[in-house]
């Protein structure tokens, strides 16, 4: 139990540290960092490496945006294998549909209810 959480903490922590190093050294904006890590996740899943990271790190690998990328790639691969070309096109988005729908819905509701506050 404790060990599992330690693995989660370390995996998630290290992915974020890599991002922080990039921000510190290159002055990349958050949007670019997110896109880069997403692409890394897609690539690692496509070459079959990310599932080992997930196996070790659990939520530490699936919660970061790399996990989102991996889920997209996994969806596309699974979709292709079961449905062919149609699956290649729809598989990725299907796999992350829950996350994207939830983000859009909650963002809309928050936008309606909340208003921005000065710092």
């Amino acid at each position: 139990m404790v060990l599992t959480y330690l693995q989660v903490f370390i995996t998630g922590g290290i992915i974020c540290v890599l991002g922080q190093i990039l921000i510190n050294l290159t002055k990349l904006t958050p949007a670019r960092i997110l896109v880069m890590f997403l692409l890394i996740g897609v690539l690692l899943e496509a070459i079959g490496v990310y599932k080992y990271i997930t196996k070790f790190g659990g939520a530490g690998a699936s919660v970061p945006i790399t996990g989102f990328g991996a889920a997209l790639a996994k969806g596309a691969i699974d979709g292709t294998i079961s449905d062919g070309l149609l699956g290649s096109v729809s598989g990725g988005l299907e796999a992350v549909a829950v996350g994207i729908s939830a983000v859009i819905f909650f963002a809309f509701v928050s936008g309606i209810l909340a208003s921005s506050k000065t710092k």
């Binding site: 002055k27 921005s116 000065t118």
Partner: protein, 332 residues
């Protein structure tokens, strides 16, 4: 062609007014501002409208302090940072006074003072109001990220001042004289980091100060105070460094920056210091003007500085041109 214009004995500051936001009210020079806002939204729906209201309130306060009517004023000159100087244009809806909008980024206050001084010197006008404003929240959403976005501020970043300052210039002899002014040229040394505006503006400040000192045949120590607009701490260090190479010695004079004066940098976590079109105008019209009235300073050189970025130019990978105008004040 000389960049420096002399106004003889024809342009004076009759009155000033300044209003700042809650964070600025916690700063070290808080006591010098006329009014401090408790609510930086001023009961408005948007921060842009709040900034307009702030601008209008400051001009109204100035007219009240000077005991003048709108009819007595020949012209208002003003500007801000938001879109097409949204906040100044909308502020002036409340006034029956001719208006010229001006944009020179955070150096706008300098540009308005110089224009007003030249109009008065030419004899065409008697009383001109100069005012500029900025608001943290409207600037932040325009140039950076939404307010609720969880982004880490770099140590180079500056904090846009929520504040407005207004000066009433006239041709009747008063306590403080606009003695001369140097209109800045645009200078671009190739800085492209939008978080490092102090570094982008320091060369412009150096060139303007250099021209001013050369054309007036003065040394830097002629001035009791040289105050740049919003270079911040790092930018001011850079200015001193590159000025040394040009032979300007700042060590005998008090050379500081309005963005450093307005906040406790460390305690208030504002990075390099304050910035914005309202920074130099609030600090001048509040702090520096009153210090001159108290005779703490006799000769002051105010050098508002501006980083001329636009949302489009920075996305297109362009470097940041800087500008600085210098205005020399004398306590009579």
């Amino acid at each position: 062609m000389s960049q420096t214009k002399f106004f003889q004995n024809s342009v004076f500051i009759q009155e000033t007014a300044s209003i700042v936001g809650p964070k600025e009210a916690d700063g070290p020079i808080s006591g010098y501002f006329d009014r401090k806002l408790e609510d930086d939204l001023l009961g408005q729906k948007t921060y842009e409208l709040a900034e307009s209201k702030l601008h209008a309130l400051t001009i109204r306060l100035l007219l009240n302090k000077a005991k003048l009517n709108e009819k007595d004023i020949d012209l208002c000159i003003g500007g801000d940072l938001t879109d097409e100087i949204y906040c100044s244009n909308f502020a002036m809806r409340d006034f029956d006074i001719p208006f010229l909008g001006m944009y020179s980024a955070c150096a706008t206050f300098g540009a308005t003072l110089i224009s007003a001084a030249l109009y008065i010197y030419s004899g065409q006008m008697n009383k001109v109001v100069c005012s500029t404003t900025s608001h943290f929240s409207s600037a932040e959403r325009q140039y950076r990220f939404p307010l609720e976005f969880g982004n880490q501020r770099t140590p180079l970043a500056q904090w846009t001042v929520t504040g407005c300052g207004a000066s009433l210039l006239n041709n009747k002899e008063g306590h403080i004289k606009l003695e001369s002014a140097t209109i800045g040229k645009i200078v671009d040394f190739g800085v492209s980091d939008v978080n490092n505006m102090g570094a982008a503006m320091a060369p412009a400040a150096m060139k303007t100060i250099l021209s001013h000192l050369e054309e007036t045949s003065r040394d830097a120590d002629y001035y009791d105070l040289i105050a740049t607009g919003d270079l911040g701490d790092g930018g001011l260090q850079l200015l001193k460094e590159i000025a040394k190479d040009e032979g300007i010695r700042f060590d005998k004079t008090n050379c500081t920056d309005c963005g450093i004066l307005i906040f406790n940098r460390e305690a208030q976590k504002v990075g390099q210091g304050g910035s914005g079109a309202g920074c130099s105008s609030a600090v001048f019209n509040g702090y520096i003007y009153n210090k001159m009235i108290e005779r703490q300073y006799r000769n002051v050189l105010l050098v508002p500085t501006g980083a001329l970025i636009s949302k489009t130019s920075s996305l297109q990978g362009q470097t940041i041109p800087g500008i600085a105008h210098a205005i020399s004040f004398e306590r009579i």
